[in-house]
């Protein structure tokens, strides 16, 4: 799991500042009891689990393809309760890479106990963090999800091959946060009436499916402009596709 974090230096500084000034700790305020929530992202092609390099797949339009790289950012996670109140996870940036099994699972810490009925997250990275400067963890530019010639993260990177592609290659580098080609998309996959019960003594898990086929809705690989190397209309088209149901909740473990 790759997660964004403040530089340890600043944390250390903050801790020492607290240590040195923290004589007036207020114990009277009630502490919220918290638990954790696990998330699993399972990448699929239709109903089959995605297999990098070896899997041969067919789009809804009938084009054939393989996948060599499939990475994307999940960020700004918000959990909502039936009464409309919400828990927003601070500094939540996760990079899911199909090639890195550990990145398919992550744990959201410090979730106030309660019954959650919905989740909202950004596919990609918010505009503020696109221009933030040098960051670490999931947002480290050495994860190769940052355009060097143009400030901004690649929100989703899918690479592969297709006999129908004029160059035989598939390259979908989707990003961009400036109008009119803002590719930041926020989704709220349904829990299908289920409830996620966060408690101190057990950690529920939401198991998502992310369906690669949903990238290509209404697309033929032979079309000029089906690839996406930069922010622009092609990236927005793919972003519109993946925000329309690529992520679904497959099941929820109560644990």
């Amino acid at each position: 799991m790759l997660f964004s974090k403040l530089p340890a230096f600043w944390i250390a500084l903050a801790i020492s500042a607290i240590t040195f000034t923290g004589c007036d700790k207020d114990d009277s305020s009630p502490t919220t009891t918290t638990g954790t929530l696990d998330v699993e992202m399972e990448n699929m092609v239709g109903t089959s689990p995605l297999a990098l390099n070896t899997g041969n797949y067919t789009t809804e339009a009938g084009d054939h393809f393989t996948v060599t790289t499939f990475n994307y950012y999940i960020s700004n996670i918000k959990l909502t309760k039936a009464d409309g109140s919400a828990f927003v996870q601070p500094e939540s940036y996760y990079l899911v890479k199909e090639s890195d099994a550990a990145s398919h699972h992550f744990t959201i810490p410090d979730v106030p106990v309660g019954d959650y009925t919905g989740i909202t997250f950004t596919i990609g990275v918010d505009s503020l963090h696109n221009v933030f400067g040098a960051q670490t963890g999931a947002l480290d530019p050495s994860n190769n999800m940052f355009w060097s010639w143009n400030t901004g993260y690649i929100f989703l990177k899918m690479e592969g091959t297709s006999p129908e592609s004029p160059s035989k290659a598939l390259v979908f580098h989707v990003g961009g946060f400036m109008k009119p080609y803002n590719a930041i998309r926020t989704v709220s996959p349904s829990f299908n009436g289920k409830t996620v019960m966060v408690r101190t003594d057990h950690s529920p898990e939401i198991h998502f499916h992310a369906d690669v086929l949903k990238l290509f809705t209404g697309m033929r690989f032979a079309d000029t402009g089906s690839t996406s190397h930069s922010a622009g209309a092609n990236a927005v088209r793919v972003a519109n596709n993946y925000s329309a149901g690529m992520f679904t909740v497959d099941h929820i473990h109560a644990n």
């Binding site: 230096f9 400067g133 530019p141 050495s142 143009n150 400030t151």
Partner: protein
Amino acid sequence: MLRLGFILLATGLAGCLAGCQPDADVLQPETVPGALLPTNFPAPVYTLETNPPTQEAFELGRTLFYDPRLSRDNQVSCGSCHQQYAAFAHADHRVSHGVDGLLGTRNAPALQNLRWKKTFFWDGGPQNLEMLPLAPITNPVEMDETLENVLRKLNADPKYQERFAKVYGQSPINSQQFLRALAQFLASLTSANSRYDHYARQEAGGQLNETELRGRTLVAQKCAACHATDLFSDESFRNNGLNKSFAADSGRAHITSLPADQGRFKVPSLRNVMLTAPYMHDGRFQTLAQVLDHYDKGVVDSPTLDPLLRQTNGRLGIALSAQEKSDLLAFLATLTDEQFTKDKRLAERQP
């Protein structure tokens, strides 16, 4: 505050005693270049608080800037194409020269007053000073290296390990430390001590003669709509009439994918312009006289030509008489900042 100052001083002193800086050209610890903001400049974008200048971090950035190990073949440093005597532009080179003698497509811009820029490069692609170096480092015709490899090389060098640990207090050296250290040097490149600056700030040595003053008035009348403020650029992107079409380099449109941005390039500063030949994004003009001639009678029409270059009578460009051109050149010469181009603290260390 006093105590903090003392600690910084003591840390600096310890650093010197530890002998990691063999060179004698390190000045007093309190004089990190660029740590004072010129009073005739607007507020900076990359504020001092963003990455507070310290002597050790600055010196680390300085070493990195001149280290050819940032390139794939260990031959090309940032300083290779950004020479101090040319205000950190590449003198006499039309376009950038990278590894294996490869040529880039654009003229290396002067690195000066970067702290005040919202965007970088001719097309404004990078939007944060810390992320700027990623492009030349990874560009196949410039340094052609990966960030991972750079970090591998730095982490394999005990001197770098020691110096980074001293500044950031943790190891191994990561991309954030590397980029922020390099940004310390880039942010320090403040050019604000030309004769014009002394004039603008009413300081000693700030006299302009009559020709120069006429030139200054002309700049205000005919150039300042783009070359604005004492930074002499409004940081906008404009099509200044170089070509009919921009198939070879779409400029700002390369970043925005917008047809309206075809052929628009960043307005460069006029500071140190006497030192930064050749001119324009493709380095097509060798002299400033050619540049002035272009604006006078060389402007080419195209759909995105800047409206300021389209006069009401249908004539294109900015009419300039011979007298006006010579007055302008006299004023532009007052923007040369030798304190900046000769500041030893910004130079490559001599082994």
